[in-house]
């Protein structure tokens, strides 16, 4: 068990910067997810921690030791790989005990540890099987056993569930959480799946284009995203964004206006501001009485419905003319579309005129140019003091490279 600290870690390949000045402090026993789209540098970051890649600049500390120049085997880390990477010429026992055998542990100790690890991952009685005789889930368990048998200070997991089918993935997710509780070891987990990150981790580190965007507990990332990228990446389906311009009385967009007190914002009128609101924070006007602070009514036409069982996703077109059907991704980024989630019992039809309102306490404002978050919840802005507090916090998160309390 150990803390892991990354100080100004940068990795360049020729002229590509894979990891750009990364500063992360991972607490002892923490389960942290590095999450981001493919090619964002999250795997490279993990490889620098594992020692498989040497950072161009910066230092990495595991526990009290500066491991930047140590080979992987002396770092006290173990790793689980996306493609599982069991050695096909060894049976399960040999695979699990490989690291211990290399380190010349005596036979009894190896047997004891392998049995223990097999018990933790529920592989008893399979030690003499060949990897090819195991199912995908069992293979992944062997890989995890191989990692825990060495009793490492830090576990590194590089998308370990990505190759499993959807159902098994959800099951293994729970198992990994149980494992973390049982072992209480620092786990650094790389994934591109924000749902995995949300459900498992103590904190999420959102990475984009080699840069750390935000590192915070999952709900903080969800409710108070540091910038537009985090807001769009965390949460499924993703947040709606509408671009607009700041006026003296609020925000003006192509299709609707939001009124709020702009004094709390540190921006001049005329600045470009993007409004973000999650699908679940848009309500049909008829059911909006429960909201403490709802926005003005917005008129829209329903486009496509996606019933999910526990909710229905409704694509709203803000323009009168019908636009072509869009995917979730396109809809969330197109300014004339909103994605709304409604109660499954709602009687809502396609191509129907509806009036919707937004929950003002859940509206996020971002500076369009930089993407930085301005405020989370515009009802706060009306009270200047609270508004400034939120404002400062949002900025603090960004300035400190994402550390949040």
């Amino acid at each position: 068990m150990a803390r892991v600290t990354l100080d100004n870690v940068t990795k360049r390949y020729d002229d590509v910067v894979a990891v750009d000045d990364m500063n992360v402090e991972i607490e002892d026993g923490e389960f942290i997810c590095l999450v981001g789209p493919s090619g964002c540098g999250k795997s490279t970051t993990m490889e620098t921690i594992a020692g498989l890649t040497k950072p161009t600049e910066g230092t990495i500390t595991v526990g009290e030791t500066d491991v930047t120049n140590l080979p992987p085997k002396d770092r006290g880390v173990s790793m689980v790989f996306q493609n599982i990477a069991l050695f096909p010429h060894m049976d399960v026992y040999e695979n699990v005990s490989f690291g211990l055998r290399l380190r010349k542990y005596d036979k009894d100790e190896i047997d004891r540890r392998v049995e223990q690890a097999a018990e933790i991952v529920q592989l008893e009685g399979m030690l003499d099987r060949e990897p090819t005789e195991l199912s995908g889930g069992q293979q992944q368990r062997v890989a995890i056993a191989r990692a825990i048998v060495r009793e490492p200070a830090v576990f590194l997991m590089d998308e370990p569930l990505a190759n499993l089918d959807a159902k098994l993935r959800v099951h293994m997710r729970t198992e990994l959480q149980r494992l973390h509780k049982q072992l209480d070891t620092t786990i650094i987990y790389v994934t591109h799946d924000q749902a995995e990150a949300m459900t498992m981790s103590d904190r999420i580190a959102v990475i984009n284009a080699g840069e750390l965007q935000q590192i915070a507990p999952p709900l903080t990332c969800y409710n108070e995203p540091a910038n537009r990228f985090v807001a769009g990446f965390i949460g499924s389906p993703s947040m709606n964004f509408v671009e607009g311009e700041l006026t003296e009385t609020g925000l003006v967009t192509d299709h609707f206006d939001l009124e709020f007190d702009v004094d709390g914002l540190d921006l001049e009128t005329g600045s470009e501001v993007t409004m973000g609101v999650r699908p679940e924070d848009i309500y049909p006007a008829a059911t909006a009485e429960s909201l403490s602070s709802s926005s003005a009514v917005i008129d829209a036409t329903t486009d496509v419905l996606e019933p999910m069982g526990d909710e229905i996703f409704v694509y709203l077109s803000l323009e009168d003319s019908q636009t072509a059907t869009m995917t979730t991704e396109e809809a969330s980024s197109a300014s004339n579309q909103l994605l709304m989630s409604v109660d499954p019992d709602s009687t809502i039809e396609e191509d129907e005129r509806v009036s919707v309102v937004l929950d003002r306490s859940k509206i996020h404002l971002f500076e369009t140019r930089s993407g930085d978050a301005l405020v989370h919840g515009i009802e706060d802005v009306t009270t200047a003091a609270r508004g400034e507090a939120t404002d400062r916090r949002a900025h603090a998160e960004i300035d400190s490279g994402g550390r949040s309390e």
């Binding site: 498989l52 173990s78 790793m79 493609n83 990477a85 050695f87 490989f98 290399l102």
Partner: protein, 349 residues
């Protein structure tokens, strides 16, 4: 009813299931209909249903249907390869020599029984085995080392690969002449280089001296074929995912142990296939030695292939030559057969 039963027992399980289902649902009512359909099919133009069925089954079997595809090559191979092998075996059992015609009436194993007492055969057999083993092992080791080096994401990788593989594309005739120049005691590159760098005491008449002759041949053949082993190993290495290297490193293996315990064991398929090809080449090294030394390279470098040629075509001891050829054939078979069996068991054939 008897007819239906016969049909059913022949057409297998699916029909049986079919029938049990039918009898469960409505007993006999559908039976005549089925009977009629089957009968119509089978009795098409014939009266004796039983023989007709057997014949038509034969006619519709895969083997018969595929005759145009397998028969011509089977005939050609059968006659020119297996027929020749058989004929050779037959000749080896006679005592045919000189210009007379072979006499097939008195077949004995005499040619084979005299082999252990023939010092020339013993030497050739020993050399063949030495060449086979030493050449294969050395080529594989050099090939493996080269493959691992070339696999390190080095620059000019493709160029190097081509350079290493190129000698294999050359004919034995070219390489034999080339190496006989290289080995020339006074003007050959090897001795010239050795004396230039002050290693005069190492210079010797490489292919003249019986002590170094076989080693010199093995060295030259290794030069020619280790590139092939490299290419096979390189393909094997490329098939191993990067994460296996990484997993081994994180688990605590240094480079040497990583290759020895994780990577090389995974190359067993490459090793087998490269070894088989190399061994077959070693058995066929006739051209190389024949070009270098003619049909009598002396006991220190004689191999069975050269001996076979010499005995049969220079001394016209046809029967003895055929016997040597049979031994050579059995050696090649003992190399290839286990490999084919392995492939068969793995399901690759």
């Amino acid at each position: 009813m008897g007819f239906i039963d016969r049909l059913r027992s022949r057409t297998g399980r699916r029909d049986r299931e079919d029938r049990s289902e039918r009898s469960r649902t409505d007993g006999q009512s559908e039976e005549p209909q089925t009977d009629g359909q089957r009968g119509e099919l089978r009795t098409d133009g014939g009266s004796d249903v039983r023989t007709r069925g057997g014949l038509s089954r034969l006619k519709h079997s895969d083997a018969v249907q595929a005759v145009p595809f397998w028969l011509p090559p089977a005939l050609l191979m059968g006659w020119f390869v297996y027929g020749a092998v058989g004929w050779n075996l037959l000749i080896s059992l006679t005592d045919w020599s000189g210009l007379s015609q072979p006499d097939y009436t008195n077949l004995t194993l005499e040619m084979y029984t005299q082999m252990p007492n023939d010092p020339s055969f013993v030497a050739a057999f020993r050399n063949t085995v030495v060449l086979l083993v030493a050449f294969t092992v050395v080529s594989l080791v050099i090939g493996l080392v080269l493959a691992i080096l070339v696999d390190q994401n080095i620059r000019f990788e493709n160029t190097l690969r081509t350079i290493y593989l190129l000698p294999m594309a050359l004919s034995f005739v070219v390489t034999a002449i080339f190496w006989s120049w290289m080995y020339n005691p006074s003007t050959g590159t090897i001795n010239v280089v050795l004396s230039t760098i002050g290693l005069d005491f190492l210079t010797m008449d490489w292919i003249g001296d019986p002590r170094t002759r076989l080693a010199a041949i093995i060295f030259a053949l290794t030069w020619q074929f280790s590139g092939y082993a490299m290419v096979v190993y390189l393909a094997g290495l490329r098939a191993i995912p990067d994460s296996h290297y990484e997993a081994a490193k994180v688990d605590g293996a240094g480079s040497l142990r990583m290759y020895w315990r994780v990577i090389v064991p995974q190359l067993s398929a490459s090793t087998t296939s490269a070894a088989v090809v190399l061994m077959v080449f070693a058995l066929k090294a006739f051209d190389f030695i024949f070009i270098m030394f003619g049909d009598n390279p002396g006991r220190s470098a004689d191999i069975l292939a050269v001996m076979m040629f010499r005995v049969a075509f220079s001394r016209t001891q046809w029967a003895y030559g055929a016997a040597v050829a049979t031994i050579l054939f059995l050696m090649a078979l003992s190399v290839v057969a286990p490999y084919l069996y392995l492939q068969y068991k793995r399901g690759d054939l």
